[in-house]
């Protein structure tokens, strides 16, 4: 069974590697479109070769994938249809054509829509290949080769990929062919997706491409770190997905995809710049604003000595909020209280200078 896990991990690595660039260039939904339309390429190639194991199927799928990207681009460039609408139209149309072809002409062969769409990694070890007298699952061999190709692509074109992902205009000026890089990338995406079909199916493969990369995107700023991080998440998701799936007898690809979502949400909520810490920071900031506002008010000539009710009515605070702020200000020796009147201390006055400095306010 360890072979199943290996296939899953290698697939996750090969896809998430490209996923980094798909995420950075906002090509996630384009990739989703490809992962559907390559089915049409597979079907057409199958009609020609009549062999489900033929390498021509991969070629057919890749052509369909690249053609999808091309049609989407042509449609968007007419400016008659928005890019997102083009994606939605093109992939559904080509996919619908594929389904009709399958159900009409290929219903009796193994080209079952269910398997193609859902994939099932658990069956991967049943088809085997001999290599140096070792018997390994064919899927493992194929995915490893794809992983190697993707890795080489990124190493060779690292600089170009980096520039064209972050600043396509500069890349254009600097003389890189962004179009060429783009089409190579999308070709690799198609080849990777079709190879991953058996294991994870066409709907879930998009998750393997982008979920780890999106999670990494939340955490890191540097491209190289993002790639490593993305691959790490890919492995974590696959291993957890595998064990949960095996233990409870569930679809492994399905569980892995959902685990990837959980991983994303955890990072989304808890990373240093995430949802929770942002909320806390903005609460702190608001508290700091309010305190600074009270001090700045007392720094004005006409307001040097104020009562509680004066301050409350000035800012529309409620009494509890006022007490909390004032307790802090008095404790830190920014404000003193004599009888019912509050006045600024020297430290408090200094703090108002600091506030002006910090928020770039004119004196």
């Amino acid at each position: 069974m360890i072979e199943v896990l290996l296939v899953l991990i290698v697939t996750a690595l090969a896809t998430s590697l490209l996923g980094v660039f798909l995420v950075l260039r906002s090509l996630a939904m384009t990739t989703d479109a490809i992962s559907h339309t390559i089915l049409l390429g597979i079907v057409l190639a199958f009609f020609i070769t009549n062999d489900l194991r033929s390498p021509w199927l991969i070629l057919g799928a890749s052509i369909a994938g690249v053609l999808t990207v091309y049609i989407i681009e042509v449609l968007s460039k007419t400016r008659l249809i928005r890019p997102d609408a083009s994606i939605g139209i093109v992939f559904t149309a080509l996919f619908a054509a594929a389904i009709i072809l399958i159900s009409k002409y290929a219903a009796d062969v193994h080209l079952d829509t269910g398997i193609v769409l859902m994939g099932e990694v658990i069956f991967a070890p049943f088809t085997r290949t001999e290599i140096f007298s070792w018997s390994i699952p064919s899927a493992l061999l194929q995915m490893s080769i794809i992983l190697l190709i993707n890795l080489l692509f990124i190493i060779i074109f690292y600089k170009e990929l980096k520039v064209s992902s972050f600043d396509p205009k500069f890349a254009f000026i600097a003389g890189f062919s962004t179009t060429l890089i783009y089409y190579i990338l999308m070709t690799l995406v198609s080849v990777t997706a079709v190879t991953a079909f058996d294991a994870v199916g066409s709907i879930l493969v998009i998750n393997f491409f982008v979920a780890p990369a999106l999670t990494a995107y939340l955490l890191v700023k540097r491209l190289a770190t993002m790639i490593w991080c993305s691959m790490l998440f890919a492995v974590i998701n696959s291993v957890s997905g595998y064990f949960i799936g095996i233990t409870y007898d569930l679809s492994i690809a399905g569980v892995t995809s959902f685990v990837a979502f959980i991983t994303f949400i955890i990072v989304f909520l808890l990373n240093p710049n995430g949802f929770v810490s942002r909320k806390i920071r903005s609460l702190n900031q608001k508290r700091e604003f309010n305190r600074a506002m009270i001090l700045m008010l007392m720094n004005e000539e006409s307001h040097q000595s104020l009562t509680k009710s004066e301050i409350i009515s000035h800012f529309h605070f409620n009494a509890g909020k006022f007490d909390k702020h004032m307790k802090y200000l008095i404790f830190n020796n920014y404000v003193t209280r004599t009888n019912e009147h509050y006045t600024l201390t020297e430290l408090g006055e200094e703090y108002t200078h600091y506030t002006r400095e910090k928020y770039d306010l004119p004196v």
Partner: protein, 239 residues
């Protein structure tokens, strides 16, 4: 004694988690034509968005006609900065201007003949009645600005709040807009306009608010629009 139509008291507001308006209190007199000036990032747009309740202030309040009621907002027509609308939307210039009338309509109610007449009147005022059946996206920058002003006029508001209406438009349109503003002011309307050209403030406006995060000065143009105040607002911070 002039009556104040907008009163701002102790307004503090933040934009994208950064404080941009500090402790602002000012009055805008009824029937005035008030310019809001200040350097980039001074909080001009934030201030009018707070007036329109598009941004919630951290503290303080904005009163219109002495009331904080949301209903008073209907008395304000807002002309946003360019490029905030969906240009692909299939609407003619007349459709857009007629939208101004919906302020006074409840759910479902359709615009009646009088609404159409007012919209047409507004188009004539802005001299774009010839384009009334054009697609809004087919207009030039200046013409678009006229259309949005026409929408505001059709709203028949008491107060007109505009975010840089004269930015990047042709001289003809600029003159026309100023002419229309003068005319409407005579019929009792109030204007609050974010303005970026300092050289025309004295000519176009009778009141000014000089802003740089906190209030530098507010009042009649001749008293507040002084070199000293301008320098105070626009001074580059050393270091």
């Amino acid at each position: 004694m002039t009556e104040n139509i907008i009163t701002i008291k102790n307004l503090n507001a933040a934009y994208q988690e950064k404080p941009v308006l500090w402790h602002i209190s000012l009055d805008i007199p009824k029937n005035s034509c008030t310019a809001i000036v200040g350097p980039n990032g001074a909080g001009k747009s934030t201030m009018i968005k707070t007036m329109m309740q598009l941004i919630k202030p951290l503290s303080g309040e904005v009163k219109i006609n002495g009331s904080k009621d949301k209903h008073e907002l209907k008395k304000i027509a807002y002309v946003p900065q360019k490029g905030e609308v969906n240009w692909d939307f299939p609407a003619t210039v007349f459709d857009v201007v007629l939208m101004g009338r919906y302020v006074h309509k409840g759910w479902i109610k359709r615009p009646n003949a009088k609404d159409r007449e007012m919209a047409l009147e507004a188009l004539k005022t802005m001299r774009i009645e010839a384009f009334k059946d054009r697609q809004i996206s087919e207009l030039s920058g200046g013409q678009r600005q006229r259309a949005f002003l026409a929408r505001a006029i059709a709203q028949d508001a008491e107060i007109y709040v505009m975010d840089e209406p004269l930015q990047g438009i042709d001289v003809t349109t600029e003159n026309l807009i100023i002419e229309v503003i003068r005319h409407l002011q005579q019929s009792g309307k109030t204007f609050v306009i974010v303005h970026h050209q300092l050289d025309t403030v004295g000519e176009y406006f009778d009141h000014a608010i000089i802003l740089n995060k906190s209030l530098i000065a507010a009042g009649a143009v001749e008293t507040v629009f002084t070199e000293e105040n301008i320098e105070k607002a626009y001074r580059e911070k050393v270091n």
